[in-house]
Subunit: 117 residues, 3 copies
């Protein structure tokens, strides 16, 4: 069994990022400022993803897969504008984007990452 | 290619848990007694998760990630009460919890696990 | 860090399949002909999954996990009829199937795969 590293165990509920062997998995990530629109929240979410990946010793160039949940799937193109500014064009992850109501009614996007390291 | 072990291949549709190398993945797990409320179904679901992980030679201390689907996201805090009684506080997994309608209208929670072994 | 291979990087947004070490992950896969019903779109989606797995040097006998999203969960039994014609009965993957609105209102099914190779 490979060692498991757990980062930011918060509130006794979950770890924000977990690594085992070559695999890094984040919790569902959201933005901080819930007054922001989809673009603003996507920027904050992706900045937070960068931070989580760094904690586990990896970065966005090594992402394998991203699940994206939007409470309103019609916001996908808007979210994608920020995604395209952020994603490493030489190392595009696989991705799935579906609609789902989220834990807080003010969350406009949630993302979850599987990366290599 | 690592060996792949498949447990509880049921109804010719799916295996309830699959292991490959150091990685164990369960199918979406639900409770048995669909007359139970969210708390009761969460308890049954987590007991079933324990059983599936044991079949594949691992346990809840080695969970990396849990996807939780609730047909009513407002039940998240209620589900979390049972989660907190169950989860290993020294080994918290990453987690995402979103709303989704489930295969049976009486399912009040469904969980899916990625673990190390 | 294992090498990461990325296939079909499309539109600068995502790769359709990514492999790292022994793990292969596809993007959310859908059918081409959106005029088809659930069965027809499921057939096209699974044919596309076969193609993506082949690109990454694996096949359906080595699938570990499939996430299935249906915009109408009542279509699960109908989707399963095509699934049963396709899936390798000796190597059943773990699976979760939930309802979610998808990126295009005409998508009747979306599937995402984690496989070994």
């Amino acid at each position: 069994m490979p060692d498991i590293a757990r980062y930011e165990q918060e509130g006794g509920i979950l770890s924000n990022v977990v690594a085992s062997g070559n695999i890094v998995i984040t919790a569902g990530a959201v933005g901080d400022d819930l007054s922001l629109d989809v673009k603003g929240q996507t920027r904050e979410t992706l900045a937070y993803v960068d931070k989580m990946l760094a904690l586990a010793g990896t970065d966005k160039s090594k992402i394998l897969f991203v699940t994206i949940w939007l409470p309103d799937i019609r916001m996908r193109d808007t979210m994608n504008e920020v995604w395209l500014e952020w994603v490493d064009p030489a190392n595009l992850p696989a991705r799935a984007c579906v609609e789902a109501r989220l834990a807080n009614i003010d969350y406009k996007v949630e993302m979850q990452i599987i990366a290599a390291r």
